[in-house]
């Protein structure tokens, strides 16, 4: 719902970048705060409209947060993101939000959670992984399956290889499409990797996010493994402008991804037109 402090939901707050983490050659994580502290407090899976005022505005998932800041992981794909990749710590930015429904935390309570991410698609899922780690007692086992094109393209390496494997009852499996000389891990695409690992659907909810083409194949793999449509949760990416269900940009049938999404169960998605 509308943020109480923000009277006009289309006008951003001015924030400042306080830290930049280079995740991969084309993905950076930006830590953002404002003079008044954290811009707002999102739930896992919610979105922020983020801008360089004189360049442009676009919607990004909020990958993590601290008491005083938000974190956005951003891949270089166009004019705005190219410009963002050039900025340095201290840069003023615009930020508004939070937008969207976030992950269905209640529905996931008490369940084992299977996170499947590809490339930058780990960014939205990571907000949920961190949340479930903070609320460890509310959720069953955590299993993270993640893949990227190459070892250099793996995002959030500290989490993948150091932090998450240390968490109680948390398993992490990583694959790359193609390894390099130093790579000792698994090679292959995410959907096939998931099938090979063969998670059992009983008592489990699968959360998947990544490039549209990967999602399509992961969904097929999950169905093969016996997951029901209600047990599969995914997040959609659509071009967005307003973020508040007015500009019409992000409609999927009668739903607006910015308001009613970006998180949908596969059961919900199957009710909607295939236009994403």
């Amino acid at each position: 719902m509308a943020n109480a402090e923000q009277v006009n939901p289309l006008v951003p707050q001015i924030g400042k970048i306080i830290k930049i983490v280079e995740e991969t050659p084309d993905i950076k994580t930006f830590h953002v705060t404002t003079d008044k502290g954290k811009p707002f407090t999102p739930m896992p899976g919610q979105l922020a409209m983020f801008s360089l005022l004189d360049v442009g505005e676009a919607m990004f998932s909020i990958t993590s947060q601290g008491p005083e800041h938000l974190e956005l992981a951003i891949k270089k794909v166009g004019m705005l993101t190219d410009a963002l990749h050039e900025v340095e710590v201290g840069q003023a930015v615009g930020i508004r939000g939070p937008y969207g429904n976030g992950f269905p935390l209640e529905m996931m309570k008490g369940k084992d959670l299977l996170f499947i991410g590809g490339g930058i698609g780990l960014a939205p899922v990571r907000s949920l992984i961190n949340y479930t780690i903070e609320h460890r007692e509310d959720y069953g086992r955590l299993w993270i399956i993640y893949g990227a094109r190459s070892p250099a393209d793996l995002c959030f390496k500290d989490d993948l290889f150091k932090n998450w494997p240390k968490v109680k009852d948390c398993r992490v499996d990583v694959t790359v499409d193609k390894g390099d000389a130093d790579w000792k891990g698994h090679e292959g695409f995410v959907p096939a990797f998931v099938e090979k690992l063969g998670p059992k659907p009983e008592g489990m909810v699968a959360i998947t996010c990544g490039p549209p083409i990967m999602i399509k194949f992961v969904l097929q793999s999950l169905e093969k493994l016996g997951f029901k449509d209600e047990q599969i949760v995914t997040t959609l990416e659509m071009r967005m402008k307003c973020g508040i269900g007015k500009c019409g940009r992000c409609n999927l049938g009668s739903a607006y991804v910015c308001l009613d999404g970006p998180v949908f169960t596969l059961a919900q998605l199957k009710q909607m037109p295939d236009e994403y």
């Binding site: 509308a2 004189d54 003023a92 500009c247 409609n251 009668s254």
Partner: protein, 333 residues
């Protein structure tokens, strides 16, 4: 009921223009448009509606949202002063009056209020003008709209041969009549004229349910073939409300504005990185018609078409939404 002679309509507008900015259909470079009344002008209050809908008075073609100054790495932002200009919109037909209710649903409900729209909408009084003659492209009655009496307006006017009848609906309408008391006389014998009866119809009953089953139907390929994607239909439609947000920079300062956009344009859904969920005009035209006839009813409980006929009148290839409705209902699944 009160009346005013048609000769005195200019004076009436002048009186209202003392306390507000008055917008009324006037001839403007060959088209008829709601334009600010400045004491004179060629009014087009006769037969037929303004070619351009009045939506831009609540939702301007381009609208500044805020200003900013960027001196890297610093930046500051300046919000605009609230819009307080009072407006009176005169000569709004029943179809366009319904379009305001539709726009209200979009901009004022579902969790967020669009401040830019709200300020304009709340500061505007609406004076409706009944239709006694329908144009060949009018089909408002198909949506339960009464061309003889508009919904949600402040004041209703009816045209007679030499005069207009006026009836206040709201306190704001009453106030407008009081301002003009000197020009108005009691209508003794005159009766409210019969409403127009459009001959064109669209039998929209059940069309939403039918469309729900037609997303993949080859019909969309066939019907979209002749569309040239010009977007005229969306610009002239009183209920189309899609917008884009852009920046304009001059030196180290600039402003953010929004402007009308159209789902008929290919850039509309294209994402950074190139992914395009609606690659061809088939998907785009389908989205436009489904939005009017299926998605909007699903989301807001009403059709997003008011039967004004502007799109079928002006489409360069004569795309006709009433024909689409008919064909959709005839399609076998």
């Amino acid at each position: 009921m009160l009346k005013i002679s048609k000769d005195q309509i200019g004076e009436l507008l002048n009186i209202w223009a003392k306390g507000a900015k008055v917008f009324v259909p006037q001839e403007n470079g060959g088209t008829s448009q709601f334009k600010a009344w400045e004491g004179q002008g060629k009014l087009t209050l006769g037969e037929g509606n303004a070619l351009e809908p009045p939506k831009d008075l609540f939702f301007p073609r381009t609208e500044t949202m805020y200003r900013y100054r960027v001196r890297d790495p610093e930046a500051s932002l300046e919000e605009l002063a609230p819009l307080e200009e009072k407006r009176v919109l005169v000569g709004v037909r029943s179809c366009d009056a319904r379009s305001f209710a539709i726009m209200d649903d979009v901009f004022l409900t579902k969790g967020y209020i669009d401040e830019f729209y709200r300020q304009r909408r709340e500061n505007t009084a609406v004076v409706a003008l009944a239709c006694t003659t329908a144009q060949p492209t009018c089909f408002c009655t198909s949506f339960g709209i009464d061309p003889g009496r508009a919904e949600g307006v402040d004041l209703q006017m009816w045209p007679l041969a030499d005069s207009y009848l006026l009836e206040a609906i709201t306190p704001a309408g009453k106030d407008l009549l009081e301002q003009a008391a000197a020009l108005l006389t009691e209508a003794a014998d005159e009766k409210v004229p019969a409403a127009a009866q459009p001959s064109l119809t669209a039998d929209v009953g059940g069309v939403t349910e039918k469309l729900q089953q037609m997303f993949e139907h080859p019909y969309w390929e066939a019907v979209s073939r002749k569309c040239i994607g010009c977007g005229a239909c969306t610009y002239l439609c009183p209920t189309c409300h899609c917008f884009d947000i852009q920046s304009e920079n001059r030196g180290d300062s600039g402003y953010k504005f929004r402007c009308w956009d159209s789902c008929m344009f290919s850039e509309y859904t294209r994402m950074a990185g190139g992914h395009q969920p609606r690659p061809s005009k088939k998907e785009r035209l389908r989205n436009r018609f489904l939005h009017k006839l299926q998605y909007f009813p699903e989301r807001y409980g009403k059709f997003a078409c008011v039967g004004c006929g502007r799109c079928l009148d002006r489409c360069p290839v004569s795309m006709d939404i009433t024909r689409v409705v008919r064909e959709v209902k005839e399609v076998t699944l």
